[in-house]
């Protein structure tokens, strides 16, 4: 079985360490991982704005790059949601359907498919606020959102709890959106920025030294907001923590 690694455009450009951690982590669990070299993006920026026709060629390129793999894994919840639920601008051929049905977000893959029991190499002796991105939480089902009634569960927390020394803290509004929202972040900068600052402050009040998430886009936005106001909080993708990043 071969895994195709999808490294979304903004991770490729600005957060290569997230792609590296994802690759190494999968390899630590014995996976055979390829990185298709001609990959670019999943089409989300266009689709998020309603411009599906403008996304068709990008979606097709994505399918061409990944159709040969048994599964596709990506360290980005929002991209996985796009591929799984909204990759509809292209004709739904067998290849497209295969790609859509077999794309996993990293946490899901570790938790549901590999059923990982331990990360013996990982130590992270810090107070961590986990940021449930809206896409991972409500569209991919990483955990129980606070609005729904039912038993509590959280796949990313279940994984992080296996990391030595980590202390998970909870903000008062546990799963409030951080305001990134794809193109929302540039079409509504004031509201977006306010939400980002509120999110960081909420984590800060809970005592978090780090904000960890499975969505780099949310982290990019929050990190930008934190730097602008000089908030001392730091940011890590969950792949980095699980792969043994020290700090």
């Amino acid at each position: 079985m071969r895994i195709g690694l999808f490294v979304p455009c903004f991770i490729d450009a600005f957060y290569p360490q997230v792609g590296i951690a994802t690759l190494e982590l999968l390899e630590r669990f014995g996976c055979a991982v390829d990185y298709p070299f001609d990959q670019t993006c999943c089409g989300q920026p266009m689709v998020n704005s309603g411009c599906h026709a403008e996304a068709a060629a990008t979606e097709q390129l994505f399918v061409d790059n990944f159709a040969a793999y048994d599964v596709i894994v990506a360290p980005s919840g929002s991209c996985v949601h796009q591929i799984r639920d909204n990759l509809t601008a292209v004709e739904q051929t067998a290849a497209v359907q295969h790609v859509r049905a077999n794309t996993f977000e990293l946490v899901e893959y570790l938790h549901d498919v590999l059923k990982v029991g331990a990360f013996p190499w990982a130590k992270f002796p810090h107070k961590v606020g986990y940021h449930d991105s809206c896409n991972t939480l409500r569209n991919l089902g990483h955990g129980k959102p606070s609005e729904l009634r039912g038993p509590d569960f959280s796949k990313p927390r279940a994984l992080l709890e296996k990391v030595e020394g980590i202390e998970l803290v909870s903000p008062a509004r546990p799963d409030e959106c951080c305001g990134f929202g794809g193109t929302f972040s540039v079409t509504e900068p004031e509201v977006s920025g306010r939400m980002g600052r509120d999110k960081i402050a909420d984590h800060g009040r809970a005592g978090a030294e780090y904000i960890v998430s499975a969505d780099t886009s949310c982290l990019m936005h929050q990190q930008g907001c934190a730097k602008r106001i000089g908030a001392p909080i730091r940011f890590k993708h969950i792949a980095e923590v699980l792969n043994g990043s020290a700090a």
Binding site: V7, A13, P16, G43, G181
Partner: protein, 496 residues
């Protein structure tokens, strides 16, 4: 640490010194500028924070109420199914409702659109020589522009709901379907009352203000020629309807004058009286977190010696019912839970939507009323999905917002600049070579441009947050090539 007590913020001394933000409204034929109005709202920090905390407190009370009902999710399912059934048999149930209401001695009227509604009510008033009307809160009447119409024909309308009355006195639209003046602080209310009722501008005690309003409005209520209400539910089986209020003001409107006119949207029909139990349990818990509204009033026939009219209003509803993607928005019971949970609504305030329906609900209703005017609204969302999860009738709100974006883009309702930018992005991202070039130039721009160039007004990202740094090792792609690829291997389409 928990969210600060909203009431403390409301009473803070600072509030007195900050004027209420009044975002500019779109002129006729213009697009509503949600982002601009939101900016104005956020630039009044005391109001902005108070609004967020106050509205979030309602969401928290909803959560607490939900936790007391073990079968909450089943109730939502049931409510959604009853609405699906009612809406898919709407013709039959509407007829049944109208027949039963007529048999109860009620005059039933049918209004195709807002203008019909206003004209029909006006005719009823003319026949009875009505000059003064008291009315309880109704979003449908807002939708029909009813108050403005009546102003134009010289009939006085007095709102009996406190929040709605505040908004009426301030000549503003309601900003929230359940709490119309939630964007105002007590200090704002005391200013409005001082100007319009002559009360003490320096006293913003809630009891004082409520009492001032009560004293001023009571004679108007006793003196009214007609009363109007909306309806939360209309029951086909009985021909009766239910109005839920917390102030009992619907009972005043319905019972004090001899003439009662109820405006009811055709989607308010439920088949049976026994269905009500499901909706009543959900409505107030979803809205305010209280187990039930203070007054759940059932009306079925005119009071003795009185007259009752029902105006059943379509105003685009049957057209929406025929649309596969958006019909389920008609299930809405106007609880406002989606607004309370919406992080964008809480930050921007309801008036920023420039529309009758605000928040997530407005995002899916307003564009079907006027696609161009409200074409920015479906983009005033992060698509976070919380609205869908709180909705007591399980409308897939965030998915409909997403659908609307596509409809608007296809119908050329989004700005040309935005569309052409995204088309260009699509071309770059569809070509590995163009994409790699774009990343390189982004990196060099970030490295070489001075801060003032990155953080200028044109760069919306840089306005409110810093840009990411250029990674020392280059892109992931560069790293992979260097560390993981046999240098003799050459990748297709990636020669440099």
């Amino acid at each position: 640490m928990s969210t600060p007590d909203p009431n403390q913020t409301l009473n803070s001394a600072e509030a007195v010194h900050e004027a209420q933000p009044k975002p500019a409204k779109a002129r006729p034929g213009q697009r509503v500028d949600h982002a601009g109005a939101a900016r104005e709202f956020l630039h009044s920090p005391v109001h902005a924070q108070s609004h967020d905390e106050r509205v979030w407190a309602m969401r928290q009370r909803r959560d607490t109420a939900m936790e007391t009902i073990p079968e909450w999710e089943e109730l939502r399912d049931l409510a959604s199914q009853i609405k699906t059934h009612a809406l898919t048999h709407l013709d039959k149930y509407l007829e049944q409702f109208a027949d039963n209401a007529a048999a109860n001695g009620v005059h039933v009227h049918w209004a195709g659109d807002a203008a019909d509604h206003n004209r029909i009510v006006h005719e009823i008033f003319t026949r009875h020589g009505v000059k003064k009307v008291i009315k309880s809160k109704s979003m449908l009447m807002e939708e029909c522009g009813f108050r403005h119409y009546m102003e134009g024909v010289g009939i006085d309308i007095v709102e009996t709901d406190l929040g709605e009355r505040i908004q009426q006195l301030d000549k503003e639209d309601p900003s929230h379907v359940v709490v119309p003046a939630v964007h105002k602080m007590r200090s704002d209310v005391s200013q409005v009352f001082a100007k319009t009722l002559g009360s003490d501008p320096n006293n913003d005690d809630a009891h004082y203000l409520t009492e001032q309003q009560r004293q001023a409005t009571r004679p108007l209520i006793l003196d009214a020629d007609a009363g109007m209400t909306g309806a939360n539910f209309a029951i086909a089986e009985t021909g009766g309807f239910v109005v839920c209020t917390n102030e009992g003001n619907a009972d005043l409107s319905a019972n004090v004058p001899n003439l009662h006119v109820a405006s009811i949207g055709i989607e308010k029909i439920v088949p049976k009286l026994s269905d009500l139990g499901v909706f009543i349990r959900l409505l107030s818990r979803s809205a305010l977190g209280s187990p039930i509204t203070q007054y759940t009033s059932h009306f079925r026939a005119p009071k003795s010696g009185g007259e009752m009219h029902i105006v059943l209003v379509d105003n685009g509803r049957s057209k929406r019912l025929a649309d596969e993607r958006f019909w389920s928005s008609l299930k809405c019971i106007r609880c406002g839970a989606c607004m309370n949970t919406c992080p964008v609504f809480r930050r921007s305030g309801g008036l920023s939507y420039g529309a009758t329906y605000t928040g997530p609900l407005g995002l899916i209703l307003d564009p079907s009323i006027d696609a161009y005017r409200y074409s920015n609204l479906p983009f005033a969302s992060t698509l976070n999905g919380s609205c869908t999860n709180v909705c007591p009738v399980k409308i897939n709100i965030h998915e409909q917002i997403f659908e609307w974006r596509q409809v608007l883009a296809e119908d050329d309702m989004i700005p040309w600049t935005k569309k052409s930018t995204l088309a260009a992005a699509g071309r770059t991202l569809a070509s590995p070579r163009a994409y790699r070039t774009a990343i390189k130039s982004a990196h060099s721009a970030l490295k070489h441009l001075p801060d003032w160039a990155l953080y200028n007004k044109l760069n919306a990202w840089g306005q409110v947050r810093d840009l990411p740094e250029v990674p020392a090792e280059g892109s992931f792609h560069d790293w992979y090539r260097k560390h993981r690829m046999d240098q003799s291997e050459s990748a297709s389409g990636d020669s440099e």
